[in-house]
Assembly symmetry: C2
Homo-oligomer: 244 residues x 2
């Protein structure tokens, strides 16, 4: 029946009932308009084209992306709950700007959840340590080569690895939300060269404890690592934070 696979995607039936078995055709729907706009805004924030505190108006974004106000509103809502934008009734949205206390609060929750992720992911990572080791090697290389961008990328994947392997959708979703709010701060954080070395040492502690199967040590190491990042961010100058 190989001929089936050369048919263009469009003419495939959505479901095939053969021999009483229901075959589901993987049906990746094209992203909704609102989702596309949301992604575009996210990219703009990540790329620094939109700075924290900046105001976004519905009509402007609508015409810029060639979509209707409805879709932009929907995108705004999603990004607001994702923690990337801040919403005020009758005043619109702005790129979220965190106060010192908000950063503190976020890191407190994040450290707890990342510790949980380490604990949940430990068995799986231990039984197949290749992925973790590869990531560690990559970070070591980046440090040795003094390549900040590379380290930043590997660092992001390092922190995403544990929730991912933990196989807990709620955990992944929650941590994603928190990370979105923190992205711009994390970016600024990485320019500090000394911190990168310290950070990598902390990563190594975590990795070793995980591979050794020492859950308690791995958890607290991660907890302290995240807390240290939070403390470091707090040392940034005042104008990186919103008043209050």
């Amino acid at each position: 029946m190989l001929w089936l696979f050369v048919l263009p995607y469009d003419v495939w039936p959505k479901t095939l009932q053969l021999f009483g078995i229901m075959l589901q055709v993987t049906d990746r729907d094209p992203l909704s308009t609102a989702q596309q706009v949301a992604s575009a805004i996210t990219q703009a924030v990540r790329g620094g084209h939109l700075v924290p505190g900046q105001r976004l108006t519905e009509t402007e974004l609508a015409s810029r992306h060639g979509v209707s106000r409805s879709s932009v509103r929907e995108a705004f809502q999603r990004l607001t709950v994702d923690g990337l934008l801040a919403f005020e009734p009758h005043r619109g949205v702005t790129v979220r700007r965190l106060s010192r206390k908000e950063v503190d609060d976020l890191f407190a929750v994040r450290s707890s959840l990342e510790a949980l992720a380490v604990s949940l992911a430990l068995p799986a990572l231990r039984s197949e340590p290749a992925r973790l080791r590869a990531l560690q090697a990559e970070m070591d290389d980046a440090v040795a080569a003094n390549d900040m961008a590379k380290f930043s990328d590997a660092n992001t994947r390092f922190h995403a690895l544990f929730p991912d392997v933990a196989d807990n959708a709620v955990l992944v979703e929650t941590l994603t939300r928190l990370s979105n709010s923190l992205y711009w701060l994390q970016f600024r954080m990485l320019v500090d060269r000394d911190h990168v070395f310290a950070s990598n040492a902390e990563h190594r502690r975590i990795v070793e404890a995980v591979l050794k199967g020492d859950r308690q040590t791995a958890e607290t190491a991660m907890r302290e690592h995240v807390a240290a990042s939070g403390a470091l961010i707090q040392r940034l100058s005042d104008d990186h934070f919103a008043p209050n």
Copy 2:
């Protein structure tokens, strides 16, 4: 200047600049239409008028509440991120129905965060123990009187107390979301009489540890208490859960 207070609310200026001091008039904006619809749906779910798995259509809700489809869509979105409704592209929303695994995932995250809440709230609760003691007494009374409704109410406030006192907005928001998804299950859970007694004993353990200032014990007591609730829910019959 007492005469000012007899003026109707409408004619008050929004801000008063007097003697160079900016006075903010507390401006409780009337809830947006979308928010009202969202609240109504929430009440309907809590009251059992809408059962898990049930489908909600935009036009039907719009005409029922006398609002436009736009507002209903917005309400749906909020309730989806709040975990009360489940959304599928091109298929609309249904009252969320959790699978066993999802319940497990939720309780894992929730136990971690409630333990964090206990830890953060401990100092404040210890320096002013009246509130905690009053709640404990209330729950004891409910158990003694075999009053399930009263215990349920006090139980809800007990679990809300720690995040509230912890003074961490992110924590409160995150836990609220998780609780919303679990509401219907918690409701079913409370019909089990034996569990109520066990639950109250666990509460007492937590309270004692907190008032004694024993952070470690308090944390693990809360963690285990939440985990026990999760395990209990898992014992419900299959038809309370979504397949998968």
